[in-house]
């Protein structure tokens, strides 16, 4: 039995309180239904996955769509599978599943390492990887890490499906390669090889907050020599960013202090963060260099991550 109070203690919903503007709701049972609903509303609508970014947006009335299309029960967007050296992660995979999945830890360990930093435990129980990538907050962990992983996005629209690489997908603040009405179906990640190593770390004021700066690195290290380094930074501008000059500085090098210092210096060419209300651009660049140094030392010392994660 539930406990009941005698009379309502709280006022009925009224315009004086901060609540979402009215909208209609439709639960899609297939991609086709979702596209049809989107077309019928002529774009005056939004998709909802975990709702962990959308609900605050609706409550603050930053968006006032006439229709919310719930895509959170689409089976087509679920599941993690491995085929031909590529891990396919369904868009509805929750942050908490990313954190605990043995497949992710084995084949895409950079995502497991970033997962504990994504929001707070209760938000991780509902938020999805597809939602965070579509939302494209420049300080969000997973979107940035797809750059370091050379991931590809599988996107569906009413005509069919297409693939788009992570590199170039993040176009501007909250702007991505997903066109209006399209749905991100899955993320494809080339699996980690035997000699691949990775590390993630971020600096935030409080655990679970969006970071001041975050960075994930991956590189192939054979006989102490690094190749194919890919460094992704978050919270350094309007979009997550690769650090191409810093990557070039370690290509074919031993990851000793000289190479690491060269990468840190080269980072000045890659990142030019602006001043904002939180901190100065110079401070962010300094923190980015500190992070890069720590992460490169970590992968230089650590055993092959794929093996360690599988153990």
């Amino acid at each position: 039995m539930v406990t009941k109070t005698k009379k309502p203690l709280v006022p009925r919903l009224g315009s004086e309180r901060v609540k979402p503007a009215p909208f209609r709701y439709f639960r899609a049972n297939s991609l086709a239904e979702a596209f049809a609903a989107y077309a019928e509303a002529e774009g005056d609508c939004t998709y909802m996955a975990g709702g962990q970014s959308l609900l605050p947006v609706l409550s603050l009335r930053l968006q006032t769509p006439s229709l919310v299309i719930d895509i959170s029960r689409l089976e087509e967007l679920r599941g993690i599978s491995l085929a031909n050296g590529v891990l396919r992660i369904g868009a509805l995979t929750r942050h908490n599943e990313m954190l605990h999945s043995p497949e992710i830890a084995r084949y895409a360990p950079l995502l497991s390492k970033a997962a504990p930093y994504v929001a707070h435990p209760a938000i991780r129980n509902k938020g999805t990887i597809g939602g965070t990538i579509a939302h494209a907050d420049p300080a969000a962990e997973f979107p940035g890490m797809t750059l370091a992983l050379n991931a590809e996005f599988e996107i569906a629209n009413s005509e069919g499906r297409r693939r788009e690489p992570a590199n170039g997908f993040f176009r501007g603040l909250y702007e991505t390669g997903i066109a209006p009405g399209e749905i991100l179906v899955a993320i494809h990640v080339p699996v980690f090889g035997e000699h691949d190593r990775c590390a993630y770390h971020e600096l935030a004021r409080r655990r679970g907050d969006y970071p001041l700066v975050g960075c994930g690195v991956r590189a192939t290290i054979r006989d102490g020599v690094a190749t194919n380094g890919r460094f992704a930074f978050i919270a350094v501008g309007a979009v997550p960013q690769r650090a191409f000059a810093a990557e070039a500085a370690i290509e074919g090098q031993r990851l000793d202090e000289t190479a690491i210092a060269a990468a840190q210096t080269a980072l000045e060419q890659d990142l030019q963060p602006d001043d904002d209300s939180e901190t100065t651009g110079a401070m962010r660049l300094h923190l980015a260099k500190v992070l890069l140094g720590r992460l490169l030392r970590e992968i230089a010392l650590s055993p092959s991550k794929a093996v360690e994660a599988a153990a």
Binding site: T3, T5, M48, S59, A122, G208
Partner: protein, 173 residues
């Protein structure tokens, strides 16, 4: 106003059917329709953690879910957890340690505490603080809350109840 739509779900073990406006959050639904006012709404944007409830056994923010989207789901609120005695020892430990002052954050704290106490090994104070990172308390400074949760870890590991103790032992008895 948009038309109200039907929704059915299980709340604290009871099957409920209601008509709701689609924009109604689960938190408002529980408080206004179900009159379960133990769930508190503070920020209504996922930041303060006062509104936590269990969705199919897992903590979620009731301010970040639409009531209509809970169709067919199982919800448990702090009232349900209290009545089933699932959190009786946590409540006692909070009482012993005076881990609440105004009590606004307490329902969310109890839901988080209930979840983290499922851990197979006792969490360190540092880990408890990490787990509480999504729960704001503007009164206690958290120290007493961490103490209370630690006390339950110790008691449960020893297979003991949490006894009434501390300066409020008399009123608790």
């Amino acid at each position: 106003m948009t038309e109200r739509v039907p929704v059915s779900m299980t709340v604290n073990g009871e099957d409920v059917q209601r008509f709701v406006e689609p924009r109604t959050t689960l938190g408002d639904f529980l408080r206004v329709e179900m009159e379960l006012t133990g769930t508190h709404l503070g920020c209504e944007m996922g930041v303060c953690g006062a509104c936590l409830v269990l969705l199919n056994g897992k903590p979620i923010h009731s301010c970040l879910m639409l009531a209509v989207a809970a169709e067919g789901e199982t919800i448990e609120t702090v009232e349900g957890l209290a009545e089933s005695k699932a959190i009786a020892d946590i409540q006692q430990a909070f009482h012993n340690r005076n881990a609440l002052q105004c009590g606004f954050c307490t329902p969310g704290m109890l839901v988080t505490a209930h979840e983290i106490l499922k851990s197979e090994h006792p969490l360190t104070r540092e880990e408890i603080r990490d787990e509480l990172s999504g729960n704001y308390c503007r009164c206690t400074g958290y120290e007493a809350i961490v103490d209370a949760i630690e006390q339950v870890f110790v008691a449960r590991a020893a297979g003991r109840e949490v006894e009434a103790s501390g300066q409020f032992a008399e009123t608790a008895a």
